[in-house]
């Protein structure tokens, strides 16, 4: 049974959400001193909100205990200056639900969760999984739709509409499918059921998403190019969609280079914000690949600030 009384349609407009990496020491422990500096950097560099630990923050390589400790540290460091969204995904519904309940207990503003890892469940099982997580909290709950990372479990508009009926706090979808059909269909029907329902772009492909009505953006690249990402986001939110195209092309080119955590962390180091290397099984680029990456990125990142 829930310890929280669900309230109708809790509201959070996430805006531009930075999704920090998780810094590690040389011996692979979470580097909290660097994490504190990184959080300050994100807040100072245009984040409306933080979400962590997302996949780019190697959530799946953190133990349950580490995820809770990381989140508690972030809440304390942020100290109410920006809302913090907690990522609570797992293969088992109860594990994810417990993590979500803990996150609300320590003061996060919302929960985001993806489809169960590994099981490739059919739609009715996905609905039960999300309902199990969303129903133990009263804060807004967002579904993270990432078909490329989670092949075999498909989040459809129809599934989301059923989930709206189940969960009063189901507030929106963070979309990485980039699929126009899904985005348009979702907003057409979800907004009729729940007017405040939000579509949030899950990567920096914001222009088409914003055209269809997306209002938020989860940005892993904000740790590398916060100015460029902010420019793209602001243009989109002002409905200057044609004008946003230049920034969109620049961000897409950057994203092409930095899709993996290994490359993103290498780019962070290049920008003077060393957060270590990823935990195994992920690998950092070797010295030669890192040099080539730096040479490619250098002209793309001239306008961005260095250091923490």
């Amino acid at each position: 049974m829930s310890v929280f009384e669900p309230v109708l349609e809790p509201v959070l407009e996430p805006g531009l959400v930075h999704t920090p990496v998780t810094p590690f020491t040389r011996d692979n422990r979470i580097d909290y001193d660097t994490f504190a500096k990184l959080i300050e950097f994100h807040i100072r560099s245009g984040a409306d909100c933080l979400a962590l630990p997302m996949h780019i923050g190697e959530s799946v390589s953190l133990t349950d205990e580490e995820q809770r400790a990381l989140l508690a540290f972030a809440i304390k460091q942020v100290n109410g200056r920006k809302p913090v969204i907690a990522h609570a995904s797992d293969a088992g519904s109860a594990i994810a639900a417990e993590r979500a309940r803990h996150a609300q207990g320590i003061g996060v503003a919302a929960i985001v969760a993806t489809t169960p890892y590994y099981w490739t469940p059919p739609p009715h099982m996905i609905i039960e999984h999300f309902a199990a997580i969303g129903s133990v909290v009263s804060i807004p709950f967002f579904v993270y739709n990432s078909p490329e990372e989670m092949p075999g479990s498909k989040v459809t508009a129809e599934l989301c509409l059923k989930l709206i009926d189940r969960l009063p706090n189901f507030a929106g979808v963070v979309d990485l499918s980039l699929d126009w059909q899904f985005m348009i269909e979702l907003l057409t029907y979800a907004k009729r059921k729940r007017p405040g329902f939000a579509l949030i772009a899950g990567t920096e492909h914001m222009v088409s998403a914003a055209a269809t009505g997306a209002t938020g953006l989860f940005s892993p690249l904000a740790g590398v190019a916060p100015k460029l990402v902010r420019k793209l986001y602001d243009s989109c939110r002002k409905d200057q969609l044609v004008e946003a195209r230049g920034a969109q092309e620049a961000v897409a080119a950057l994203r092409q280079q930095l899709k993996s955590s290994g490359n993103l962390k290498a780019a962070q180091r290049m920008m003077g914000r060393d957060c270590g290397v990823p935990r195994p099984p992920l690998q950092a680029p070797d010295a030669e690949a890192a040099r080539a990456l730096a040479a490619t990125l250098e002209p793309m990142l001239r306008d961005e600030s260095r250091g923490f």
């Binding site: 980039l178 126009w180 985005m183 348009i184 088409s208 269809t212 969609l241 044609v242 946003a244 969109q248």
Partner: protein, 238 residues
């Protein structure tokens, strides 16, 4: 061509199961005075990228008409004209002038748009009317619109709102179009033909293996069209 008699440009869809038929249809289109042709990547064989490349070279060098390619990876099991392939075709073929882009994906569309427009600034990026809105800010200039046979006013209003950059209005119209598309895509194009019957423009059954909209289905379509206000806002009859 005779009925249109030059009042609007006509592009002819020449995609056929057999590539030899496609070639013949392309020749035919040129002979009867079409303004251009539209050709999809070859059906059935899941051709490699090189095979797709060679196919368009062969087709486009066999005629002088402008050719619009049709990229539909979601219908054709990943058979796809990527940005890289698009650029090779544009560089080689002066009459390779546009694409009906049906990946419906932000990243793919942006990449094709970026590559194509840098090589050929007037390259035409078209999509389906049901996805016009997200395409236009990234360089889309129009759409094919089967829905125009049922709701031409809505199609025109959506197109105008997008081209004028009136995004809030375009959003409302696009959502309305989605509801209609949802209705038609079930057993497409049977339901579209069913909708045409309701609008006083019957064009007969759908050929097998597709089903033809039943009386019950037509009654459902009529109710939905009435709910959406389409019966009042769109023209009835020929």
């Amino acid at each position: 061509m005779k009925v249109v008699a030059g009042r609007v440009p006509v592009t002819i869809h020449v995609s056929a199961l057999a590539v030899e038929d496609t070639m013949a249809l392309g020749q035919h289109a040129q002979k009867i005075g079409a303004d251009g042709i539209l050709a999809i990547t070859p059906y059935f064989w899941t051709p490699t990228r090189e095979a797709i490349h060679d196919y368009f070279i062969r087709l486009c060098t066999s005629i002088e008409l402008p050719v619009l390619s049709y990229n539909s990876p979601s219908y054709l099991a990943g058979v796809e004209i990527t940005g890289d392939l698009m650029s090779r075709l544009i560089e080689r073929l002066p009459n390779f002038v546009g694409v009906k882009e049906a990946s419906f994906n932000s990243e793919k569309f942006l990449e094709i748009s970026r590559v194509a427009l840098s090589l050929r600034p007037n390259f035409a990026l078209l999509t389906g009317v049901e996805f016009l809105l997200p395409s236009v800010p990234l360089g889309g200039v129009g759409s094919y619109s089967a829905a125009g046979s049922v709701c031409p006013n809505l199609c025109a209003a959506l197109f105008e709102a997008c081209m004028a950059g009136e995004w809030p209005r375009a959003r409302d119209l696009q959502y309305k179009m989605t509801r209609l598309w949802h209705l038609f895509k079930d057993q497409y194009p049977s339901s579209l033909k069913g909708g045409m019957v309701i609008m006083g423009r019957p064009v007969g059954p759908t050929r097998p293996p597709l089903p033809t909209a039943t009386k019950e289905r037509q009654a459902f379509i009529e109710k939905e069209l009435a709910d959406m206000g389409v019966l009042e806002s769109e023209p009835h009859g020929w």
